[in-house]
């Protein structure tokens, strides 16, 4: 653990990522305290530029405070990013572990299912899923989890395939441990590093995917997210740059920070690169 922390913090990039991410999380959590009003409240005339009295980031096409919208948008983006990744990792670990540990026909079956999900263009599948389930926060989370779990399953299966023959697994089996116990207490902890790296990257891509969905109007219409802010303002792009550029920057910075963290985790957890 000490080694991990030392490597992780020894390079500036992951540190920058972590700091930015912490600021965004703090902003999201403190949004109701920082601003006395919700993101949908109309505070003045539309399309006021940033710096107008009382409007740090200007107002959008409806005269709503962009700064409040950005802070509340962070809540939705992080919520969707993290919960959908947890769901995807849950599904992926379970199926990947079973496939990799048991092998044989079960492996074949599960991998065909995984491939089925991988060969369908994932965004198209996601749009169909969300439209079918009615656009809402939970349908977005479920949809993103359902299209992203295969890559986790693949990674986990690979790890399990290489680990299941090792001595410590054979030892556990000789001791009479049940399969489930071996999977979760012996093999999984050793397979965790790549899962953590993949997961951290997935949070970023889930945030991007959620933004794309909301941009297309398939997000929850009663919640404000960065993607829906861009989607709702895109007709104003030519007269009020801040309405689209600011939420766009917010998405970019968040995803970049998460990728920096992912890189740092990869460097710190990968035994071949840890020197």
């Amino acid at each position: 653990m000490k080694d991990f922390l030392r490597v992780f913090f020894s390079r500036p990039i992951p540190l920058v990522g972590l700091v930015i991410f912490a600021v965004i999380v703090a902003l999201a959590l403190l949004a109701p305290l920082l601003f006395g009003r919700g993101p949908f409240i109309i505070v003045g005339m539309p399309l006021l530029p940033p710096g107008a009295p009382g409007l740090l980031a200007g107002s959008d096409v409806l005269g709503r405070d962009m700064a409040v919208g950005l802070a509340y948008g962070a809540r939705i983006s992080l919520l969707v990013g993290i919960t959908s990744t947890l769901c995807a990792v849950g599904i992926g670990v379970l199926l990947g572990a079973v496939a990799g540990y048991y092998g044989g026909w079960l492996d074949d079956l599960l991998m065909r299912v995984t491939e089925f999900f991988q060969i369908i263009p994932s965004f198209v599948l996601l749009m169909v899923l969300v439209a079918f389930l009615q656009p809402s926060l939970s349908s977005t989370v479920i949809g993103i989890a359902l299209v992203t779990w295969p890559q986790v399953a693949r990674v986990v299966r690979g790890e399990f395939l290489s680990l299941r023959g090792r001595e410590f697994v054979q030892a556990a089996r000789t001791l009479g441990m049940r399969d489930a116990r071996i999977i979760f207490t012996q093999v999984l902890p050793n397979a965790l590093p790549p899962i953590i790296v993949v997961g951290s990257m997935m949070v970023g891509s889930a945030i991007l995917t959620e933004s794309a969905l909301s941009f297309l109007g398939l997000g929850d219409p009663n919640l404000l997210s960065w993607g829906s802010m861009i989607g709702g303002s895109r007709s104003a792009m030519w007269v009020a740059w801040w309405t689209t550029v600011l939420p766009g920057l917010a998405i970019m910075i968040t995803v970049l920070a998460l990728n920096f963290i992912g890189d740092g985790l990869n460097d710190a957890l990968n035994p071949r690169r840890r020197r």
């Binding site: 409240i41 656009p135 109007g217 895109r234 007709s235 104003a236």
Partner: protein, 528 residues
């Protein structure tokens, strides 16, 4: 990029057919072609079957009407070279032009008018049904004379023959067929300055000049491309780059109106849709509680700052609507109106009075507003504003997104709480306004009727008396009373009078010649 290349290809293809006169004038086929846009593609081109703005913009070039109307809504000859009416308003006689042919070469005669006004229009076009219900018989006196004998005088009869309401359809194509499935719905035949040429689904509809058009000096251009251009940003860029010549009504989002107006290459007209006279409204389903309660509707009106809607949501394009008749049309009577100024305290008092007291979280009532699928334009923004405004008086609104089929089906089948739409008044209350309030027009399954279920015998009677009166003072008296009753009842939530813009590239001229704008066709358009 794609846009321009397609335009060039289209231009190249039509080069072979360039007439000698055009080659001599030294202009290229590209220059003599109008490039227009469609926000979405119509399902067919049967004008009366689906009389929406995009259809008017396209079919207005293919089909023509008996009369044209000037800026004062006075009738002028078109397919009818002359007409007379008896002083009692019981008989109208139209003398048709003898030199008109349909695009397929068949001569245009009285038979076409009798068929259109007697059969096809009343069956398909919701506005015609009401207008022609006052007609007893339509007779072809001879090959080029048509006589309308009325059941009773109908003072808006001539206006109901406006191009957007009564396009004359070819009898030889439609008579005896199923109008809804006729194959020529996809390659329409008319008498207008442009002929249908080609429809590439998902891309464009192309019209070419009608070389045998009866106005010998028209059309001034070789053809028109209507390209599918689904987003407002694309359409703005197309106008700014010169790839598109026309941007009509809903093509350009009002957000960027100021930018368009500042463009030196583009001319903006605010009067191109005066003949339609649109009011943006919210309709309520009176069958459902509490929308049937007048006090609820009044509270709804008091809770909304309609000045903000005009100034901020629609960027100043239009004015606050005060009642069922737009303020620039005949019969508008400001003194008769009951007004609902922005006053949220009064809204709360009205809700209290009807027993809608604030419950948990200050919420008095929850309901849904069904939004028109306008791609985030002024209707969607208006609904978002209304949601916010109503939340301040304790009404919790859920916004429902729809697509077009869903919107039509649900509004026609009365499956909604509140919806938002815009309706044209078409120059006369009897044509454009009555249809939303007459109890005889409560017709399940048909959108754009009295879908609210508003039912007031006095209003029914007044609309009838006003329509059949002959004396202008008497007509005004009835319409004034109507405006009083309808606003007193808050028979609809009138939000604002829209003023859609028509933008065109300044390389063209003679584009907007009357209050019907594009619905009268682009035959007069020529290079500036």
């Amino acid at each position: 990029m794609e846009f321009d290349r397609r335009a060039m290809l289209g231009a190249a293809a039509s080069l072979a057919a360039v007439p000698a006169w055009a080659q001599a004038s030294g202009t290229t086929a590209r220059q003599r072609t109008i490039s227009a846009m469609m926000t979405d593609e119509p399902a067919h081109l049967n004008y009366p079957l689906f009389n929406t703005r995009i259809m008017q913009e396209i079919c207005g070039n293919i089909q023509e009407s008996l009369l044209l109307f000037d800026w004062q809504f006075k009738p002028h000859p078109n397919l009818a070279r002359a007409f007379e009416m008896t002083p009692d308003g019981m008989r109208y006689t139209f003398h048709l032009r003898p030199d008109v042919r349909w695009h397929d070469g068949v001569p245009f005669t009285a038979r076409d008018v009798v068929f259109s006004c007697g059969t096809m229009l009343p069956q398909l076009n919701p506005r015609s049904r009401n207008a022609f219900s006052h007609v007893r018989t339509i007779t072809a006196v001879d090959r080029y004379t048509v006589r309308f004998d009325m059941k009773q005088p109908f003072n808006a009869f001539l206006l109901s023959l406006m191009a957007s309401s009564a396009p004359i359809m070819p009898a030889h194509i439609f008579e005896g067929t199923d109008f809804r499935t006729n194959p020529r719905n996809f390659s329409p035949v008319g008498t207008g300055p442009f002929r249908f040429n080609r429809w590439v689904r998902g891309q464009y509809i192309h019209l070419t000049r009608n070389p045998h058009y009866w106005r010998k000096d028209q059309p001034g251009m070789d053809g028109i491309y209507y390209r599918v251009c689904p987003t407002s940003e694309q359409r703005l860029v197309a106008m700014e780059s010169g790839a598109a010549d026309f941007a009509m009504a809903d093509d350009i989002d009002t957000v960027v109106n100021s930018r368009m107006m500042a463009n030196p290459n583009v001319i903006g007209r605010a009067d191109a849709f005066n003949g339609t006279g649109e009011i943006t409204v919210m309709e309520m389903n009176h069958r459902r509680w509490p929308f049937g309660d007048r006090r609820f509707r009044a509270a709804f009106m008091h809770a909304i700052d309609r000045n903000f809607l005009v100034k901020a949501i629609n960027f100043g394009l239009g004015k606050v609507a005060t009642g069922p008749i737009p303020s620039n049309l005949p019969y508008y009577d400001e003194k008769a109106l009951v007004k609902y100024p922005f006053d949220q305290a009064r809204a709360r008092a009205l809700l209290d009075e009807m027993g809608l007291k604030p419950g948990r979280g200050g919420i008095r009532h929850r309901f849904a507003i069904m939004m028109i699928p306008d791609g985030g334009g002024h209707w969607t923004r208006g609904c978002h504003y209304v949601k916010q405004a109503l939340s301040e008086v304790g009404l919790d609104v859920t916004l429902e997104s729809t697509d077009w089929p869903t919107f039509s089906r649900r509004s026609g089948n009365w499956d909604f709480d509140v919806d938002c739409n815009s309706y044209g008044q078409y120059g006369d209350p009897a044509i454009g306004t009555a249809r939303f309030f007459l109890s005889s027009n409560i017709r399940k399954g048909v959108p754009q009727t009295n879908i609210q279920g508003y039912n007031n015998p006095e209003v029914d009677a007044l609309f009838h008396k006003a329509a059949v009166a002959v004396d202008p003072a008497e007509i005004q008296k009835h319409y004034s009373r109507l405006q009083h009753v309808l606003t007193r009842d808050v028979a609809m939530c009138w939000l604002f009078e829209r003023q859609p813009m028509f933008f065109y590239n300044k390389r063209l001229k003679d584009v907007i010649m009357g209050p019907n704008g594009p619905a009268d066709g682009f035959g007069s358009v020529k290079l500036a």
